[in-house]
């Protein structure tokens, strides 16, 4: 029951007097999006794509655009005999919720007297304070907040070289707890540390490529700091590691550079204070971006349609193994292995640094009962660092687990068995903490570098709230004497 996308599905088209429809989608430049054509009773007439002329009988139709964000947009179209009609649908979306569109940031002016901070806003205070300082609420009204700053005797300074680690940038919000008839202080620390790790073919190390100029844009919307970072892509596998100064790391595998594509890689970092999110933007491949969008809302059928013919994708777009790998995963997931032909083997051989090619080739071999070949390819994949996509890690770990637990008939040599066990140990841990909401592989907790390197190579991303406040880090409010070395 796979969706067959066809361009022309009129039952009895009158070619002399044919009625045609072309659906254009604004807000999407290069990739055709899936549409469904239904009659007025909403019964299926057929599937097609935008920017494709469709021949239909004259009638009333409902055109359903399947948007990459998971929503559907429908439009009623009346076609008269002989008419060639063009309709435009838009991908832009205006929220019904006024809050979604409002941009708010509380700004306030602080006055300090001794160890007391007094603000002229009754809602929140934005500041930077050393972590060895704690504060207690003295007074709160609609007009002001008065906070007493005291030394936190329980705080131990970290041995970190980066002085930013000892500071908290953020806001303090005073909230009325009506039930308990008291006021609570909510702290939201801002700012993240980032660094790049690189796989040299055998192990992970901290990249010596500086990321000093990585920040290309930052702004604050609805109290969330949004920072755009741009990294020079490498033909070595790279992982971006991000963490809050006082929190755990999140790793994101960056798409590999290949020939002219992915020279740069854009990552968006949303910092809401207590938490953050990172998403890699496929700015050089709108097709890959769209496939990822469809996958993220569970639309494997539409993702498969967007990937098109996977074989063509490899041969004609040989510079883009990222798109090819993505297409391969989609076809594996929907079980359409006929469309894979032999190209996964080529993807595996031509791009020896990409684990994804080896995983797709291995999975294809496994499904064709070529178990020895499959095992060797899975083992090969596990030696290539990490796959770019979560789907790849999921397949790889599941198969390695099967080999370690169940299959003793493969006559695995002791050296291969050793490799298998150590690869499975690391990859299973990463898989356990991988982010299921992202298609690109992202994970927490598991560490790729040794404990000795835990505090090395970090760059602090200055929260945009501070910039918006006009606060220069070199003149950040000094709340305690002698605490000026930020």
């Amino acid at each position: 029951m796979n969706k067959k996308f066809c361009n022309d599905f009129a039952k009895n088209p009158n070619h002399n007097n044919s009625t045609k429809l072309l659906v254009e989608v604004s807000g999407n430049n290069s990739v055709d999006l899936p549409i469904t054509i239904r009659n007025r009773g909403l019964h299926l007439i057929g599937h097609s794509n935008s920017n494709t002329t469709i021949t239909l009988d004259p009638d009333l139709y409902v055109i359903q655009l399947h948007r990459p964000d998971g929503r559907e947009q429908s439009q009623l179209v009346e076609l008269e005999k002989g008419q060639v009609k063009k309709i435009k649908m838009s991908l832009s979306y205006q929220s019904d919720n006024i809050k979604d569109r409002s941009i708010t940031l509380s700004t306030n002016i602080k006055e300090r007297s001794g160890d007391t901070l007094n603000t002229r806003s009754g809602e929140q205070v934005i500041l930077a304070i050393p972590k060895r300082v704690e504060f207690n609420l003295l007074e709160k009204s609609f007009a002001s907040i008065k906070v007493k700053l005291e030394e936190n005797v329980n705080y131990t300074q970290s041995p970190a070289r980066n002085p930013n680690l000892d500071w908290v940038y953020g806001n303090i919000e005073i909230v009325e707890n009506v039930q308990q008839n008291q006021q609570e202080i909510h702290e939201k620390p801002w700012g993240c540390l980032v660094r790049i790790l690189q796989f040299d073919g055998s192990m992970w190390a901290i990249s010596d490529h500086g990321i000093d100029k990585a920040v290309i844009h930052s702004e604050t919307i609805a109290d969330v700091s949004q920072t755009t970072l741009k990294f020079k892509a490498s033909n070595q596998l790279q992982v971006l590691e991000v963490r809050k100064p006082q929190g755990e790391s999140t790793h994101l595998v960056l798409p590999l550079s290949s020939n002219s594509l992915y020279e740069e890689c854009t990552v968006k970092l949303w910092d809401s204070g207590n938490d953050f999110q990172i998403i890699c933007d496929f700015t050089n491949s709108s097709r890959a971006s769209l496939v990822l969008d469809y996958l993220s809302n569970g639309s494997y059928d539409f993702a498969a349609n967007i990937t098109g013919n996977a074989e063509d994708m490899l041969y004609s777009k040989i510079k883009n193994p990222v798109e090819a790998a993505l297409g391969g995963y989609v076809l594996l997931r929907i079980g359409d292995i006929e469309r894979l032909h032999n190209w996964p083997s080529n993807l595996c051989e031509w791009f020896p640094k990409i684990a994804d090619g080896a995983i797709i080739a291995a999975e294809l071999a496994a499904r064709k009962n070529k178990n020895i070949k499959a095992f060797d390819l899975f083992l090969e994949a596990s030696q290539r660092g990490l796959p770019m996509f979560r789907e790849g890690l999921s397949i790889l770990v599941a198969r390695l687990r099967s080999y370690t637990l169940y299959d003793k008939k493969l006559n695995i040599s002791s050296s291969k068995r050793k490799k298998l066990q150590s690869a499975y140990k690391l990859l299973a841990e990463i898989a356990l903490f991988s982010d299921n909401n992202l298609a690109l592989l992202s994970f927490k907790e598991a560490s790729l570098v040794s404990q000795d390197a835990a505090e090395l190579g970090w760059q602090f991303i200055i929260p945009s709230q501070l910039k918006q406040q006009g606060i220069d880090l070199s003149t950040v409010p000094v709340l305690f004497q002698g605490e000026s070395d930020v």
């Binding site: 909403l42 019964h43 299926l44 409902v62 494997y300 079980g335 359409d336 499904r367 637990l405 356990l432």
Partner: protein
Amino acid sequence: MSIWHTEPIYATRSKPCTNVLIFGTSNYSNLPDTQPSNDPNLLGLTSITTPAISAYRFAKWVKETYQNKDAPLGSIRLLLSPSQKEINNEPELAHFNLPLPTKDNIETALNEWRQDCCVHRDGCAILYAAGHGIRLLNDSGIVLLEDFGEVGANILSGAIDIGNIHQAMALDRAAKNQFYFVDACAIEPAVFRNYINMRTGINLDVMRGEAVEGSPIFFGAAPETLALGEPGKGTLFIQALLRCLNCDAAVADDVNNPAHWLVNTQELFRKLLSGVNELAQSFGDKQSVVLGGLSADSLFHQLKDPPQIPLSVSVLPKTADQYAHYQLTSLFTNNVVDDQQPFQTPRTTHVIPGVYKINLIMETGSNFTDGVMPALIVMPPSVKAEVQL
């Protein structure tokens, strides 16, 4: 083991049919009712109050409503361990003499179900499991059984891994369409980090075989998250699942039979994903359904009649409703399907999918002009329309 329900087609074995295995555990014989035990092997768990009733509701839906023209319903195996709260809410549960979902009972039922599923390649297999859940890998879904936590047993002795069952069911002779529902949490207890290797008590051999055409696994919760439940109403997953099967995920996508409304894998997942999350958000929480396995777009269910879509129409300004005569007309049949005077806003009508016209004819002298919405497309799951006068 006795089967809870069979249809005549099951006995003849001459035609492909759907065989269903459903189990839900709320009451665990080795777990405390309320306060968690300090025993690390019990993972800090207690008995719970929604999986058994959820499993029962799914079984009831399959028995009364499930329809699949290629593989009609054949058999339902049902194993339940309800809590007293669930029996109070659903007294029927006390009247069935159902086997408990213990390790031994599930193993027996599973083997029998697997044999039934291997009679016809064109058949369909459905497995629904609810209870405490653990997830160690992406396509694993470990569900704890009624006798989990026996003293001296391996930690997962009383557990089943649905991921293993899914793999083991990929047989050349097995039903080519299979559906798995894991209505359980997907957490990894900290104590598991001390283990080098753990095996679930029920573990089927995985054979080399061709993959089936479609065998999606619908996991009720994303890794490291909880599957939520609402006492009396069942898990959020089952609430959303039944809504999807009855209406929200229905599409008229059978080109050969345009009047048929079907539920297939892709649409079911899309609507389940949003449905469960919306329910969780209404409780101030989050829950994400995850799709695993082989997710080819297979037919799961065919509705007997077109779904009934709740269409809510309101008028602005609200004070105008008392002067309005409201008519809802189908553009497909030209029939007036709803007519109300005076109009009370908002008005919710259940209608079949289609294109409708809304007319609001205002009383003379009311100072409001008539309102018209010439073409409103009504599709599952629901539509809200606002007419500005």
